[in-house]
Point group: C2
Chain length 265, copies 2
């Protein structure tokens, strides 16, 4: 979908168009300067473990907002928005298996559901670009490559599993700046978790990502790895919960929070 | 108590002496450079609300660690330590009322308890001093003055209430540096919440703190206010939970985490 004519709309205007079904595609490039969020909806009986998992693993699971039990209003990230309608596309999982993709989850909403909005790398990629650090998968216009690693997340109750990372190759002389820039944004994954050697993370072949599409690491470039928001979904699904709802990949929630507001300094 | 001969012991050595009852006083000045922690123990039925309250109010409630349900091992902050014995002094509250102070809570421990370790201002005060910012209540050797404010915390479930702040007066030309220094440490309350005017926080008289002892604001000085770890205790007690255990004021837990490790950059 050509999103050019939507590029200068505000988050609230965009959410309205998404709610009405006028905008149904990926949200990359929309509302530049505003943080977008991943979604994870679980029932109350899993919410404590999930909240604790996020608390213990803030790099892969940086929380932007958690709704009250049964409430679909993300009051802190976008007051007045509706979690059930304001993502362009959702995925419904039963017992850990994808059941269907839908543009609206009003019919699936239950009174004991809790929605977790999790920070997304779009925010720190904007900061990288603004600082002269190139982002290969944006140049190549495909999804970022993601890999399962040998880094065990801190378990929480029934939830345990490996960290998933995203990889961005960059010229060696940009790596220090990339660390500095992303360190400012812990609520959108923060500083890298590793620089340089995929084997140290248990990644056998960078050309074969577990999710997304491969980015080539060119001569003189270094692969840099960040904790990825796919981690909490992957970990939660392993516990095969009866019902979980997430966003569809790339179809994010546009918050009212400016990226810069998330900077810790 | 004269703690001079304990000053150069490591956190693990200090916790051992505390556990054995050899050290039973306030922990200020011990294990310099290591983070100390406030304690809040609740039963599992209140733990979700409390964890969510901390997530929504990270300035007054920065979490250093949360134990597994029923576990007294703070695995991330001090693996192998024992939450039930390694604070010099505890307070046991029933239905929101202080029942007793004890040096050991082994007899009170229950299988559904969760312990929250909350960052403490000792860490950022060390950083202030190291940066040439004087800390009045340390010079005067009394407890920091604390005030209830008109800032409402973000409520979570049954938990709601005003933010409590601590106040440190300082020369006007040190204020910017104080903001910079404490911004680096969000997990020990982070940057100030207000600079200058107590009335804006609803504080009628700086000479009459709600907790601790007053510090004089001298000619040319500015009062600077930080979110305070007393907040979560005050808020939880309002809900009158059947059983809550905290540390006794000033009698903190000495973690294995170095203050500098808590710096976000």
């Amino acid at each position: 979908m050509d999103t050019t004519r939507y590029r200068h709309l505000s988050p609230v205007e965009l959410r309205q168009r998404i709610r009405q079904g006028e905008l149904s595609g990926p949200t990359a490039g929309l509302a530049n300067g505003y943080a977008q969020a991943n979604l994870m909806i679980v029932r109350r009986d899993l919410a404590y473990d999930f909240l604790l998992f996020c608390q213990r693993n803030p790099k892969p699971c940086p929380l932007l907002d958690v709704t009250d039990v049964g409430s679909f209003d993300p009051r802190r990230a976008a007051p007045g928005a509706d979690i059930r309608t304001d993502f362009p596309r959702y995925r419904v999982y039963r017992n850990g298996e994808l059941e269907q993709e839908v543009p609206d989850i009003t019919a699936f909403w239950e009174d004991d559901m809790v929605a977790f909005l999790i920070g997304c790398s779009f925010s720190f990629e904007g900061a990288l670009l603004a600082n002269g650090v190139p982002v290969r998968h944006i140049e190549d216009q495909h999804n970022v490559p993601m890999y399962r690693t040998n880094i065990a997340c801190q378990p929480a109750g029934t939830l345990r599993g490996p960290m998933v990372v995203s990889m961005r190759p960059m010229p060696a002389d940009k790596v220090v700046r990339a660390v500095q820039v992303t360190s400012r944004f812990p609520s959108v994954h923060g500083a890298p978790v590793h620089i340089g050697d995929p084997a140290r993370l248990g990644i056998a072949d960078l050309a074969k990502p577990d999710f997304g599409e491969a980015s080539q690491v060119r001569e003189g470039e270094v692969p840099v790895f960040w904790a990825c928001g796919v981690t909490p979904q992957a970990v939660a699904m392993q516990a095969r919960p009866e019902l979980v709802i997430t966003h569809a990949p790339g179809h994010m929630f546009i918050t009212d929070l400016r990226d810069e507001q998330l900077g810790v300094i």
